[in-house]
Assembly symmetry: C2
Homo-oligomer: 186 residues x 2
DNA sequence: AAGCGCATGTAAAAGGTTACATGATTAC
DNA sequence: GTAATCATGTAACCTTTTACATGCGCTT
């Protein structure tokens, strides 16, 4: 999960800040978005939740269900919220994978509208750089039509779409703010 | 690198099959494509090359340079080529990250035009499935406009572009095959 | 001989998946 | 009682990054 990515610890903490969840819930939620975000295994999720408990960043409550075994629902604490904000204030690496971008996008719900827009704009600049790099690489290839050209072509198509989407979204959000209703646990 | 991905061992082997390279060369080449493929560290590359040597899948020759320290250039062996083909014949997981797709696309140069087209078509189907899943998820969200919707929207935009590119490319390649000049090492 | 860029290498630590094991609850 | 689904948990293993260390060849 790491490698210029979002550490699972803070990714989960950010999810908990939006909604109390069990390990199973987290797995299901991320599995549904698995093309857009990392989807860790249970063997990674459960120990991470235990660590959050241990460090006082989250609390746990056993919730009985009908027809189903009980769940352990985790809730972020005030200390956890503070840790999350401190983490979020750290500078972000200048390059970022698609998944990392979307993960931070999801976490952005914990913060302000400005921060969200900043995040999108930074991504925009990054994608523009990437497009330039791909164009340069394409030029260097010259006439040769091969697999590398195919890969570059593919990358350029994606970059163009991403840029358009980001511009569009930044404009839209600037005019009409998103309501960021974060469900606060307690 | 693993986790439904392309193992570094075979990725490097595939690169060597297209062109003899040193560890440093590999690093530089992949760094340039780092948005499209995994870009492993030296601490991963060098030991992998040693293992390929050890297993007889590659040979190594020290090549002196002017003005620069000598390089260790690796070359695939016949045994290595056979291992690569066996690996490539194994069934591929039904879902694949963008990077994994592009990595396999680059490796496809080692194989036939049909295999290349098959790879692209399989990706096409996969992306179509993904789009359906994202559409379903969007419907389930209903009216609520939030970050999750933003993420889904983003995913849908990318999926649409990918589908168009894949269709386009498959058609183009079906009519006008790509010349796959693989530089055979020695 | 000191410094710099190229090039290779390694050990320790971090991060993750796989493959189990356990147990609750319902349905047959 | 046994199979199936939901849910949690753990240990062994694998991969990968990080943070060094080494050395060549040129320049000053």
């Amino acid at each position: 999960m790491s490698a210029g990515s979002v550490s699972l610890r803070y990714f989960i903490l950010g999810l908990l800040n939006q909604h109390p969840m069990s390990g199973y819930d987290i797995k299901r939620f991320l599995k549904g978005l698995s093309w857009l975000v990392d989807s860790p295994s249970f063997g990674n999720i459960y120990p991470t939740l235990h660590a959050l408990l241990e460090d006082g960043l989250a609390t746990m409550k056993v919730v009985s269900q009908q027809n189903k075994p009980p769940r352990k629902v985790y809730n972020i604490t005030n200390v956890g919220r503070q840790a999350l904000h401190e983490w979020a204030n750290q500078p972000v690496a200048s390059t970022m994978s698609l998944k990392t971008f979307v993960m931070r996008l999801v976490l952005a719900g914990n913060f302000s509208q400005e921060r969200l827009i900043t995040h999108l704009k930074r991504r925009r600049d990054q994608v523009a750089d990437r497009r330039s790099a791909l164009e340069r690489a394409t030029d260097e290839l010259g006439e040769r039509a091969g697999l590398q050209r195919l890969a570059l072509d593919y990358g350029l198509a994606l970059a163009a779409t991403e840029l358009a989407w980001l511009d569009n979204t930044v404009n839209r959000l600037s005019q009409q703010p998103l309501s960021l209703e974060v469900v606060r646990g307690d």
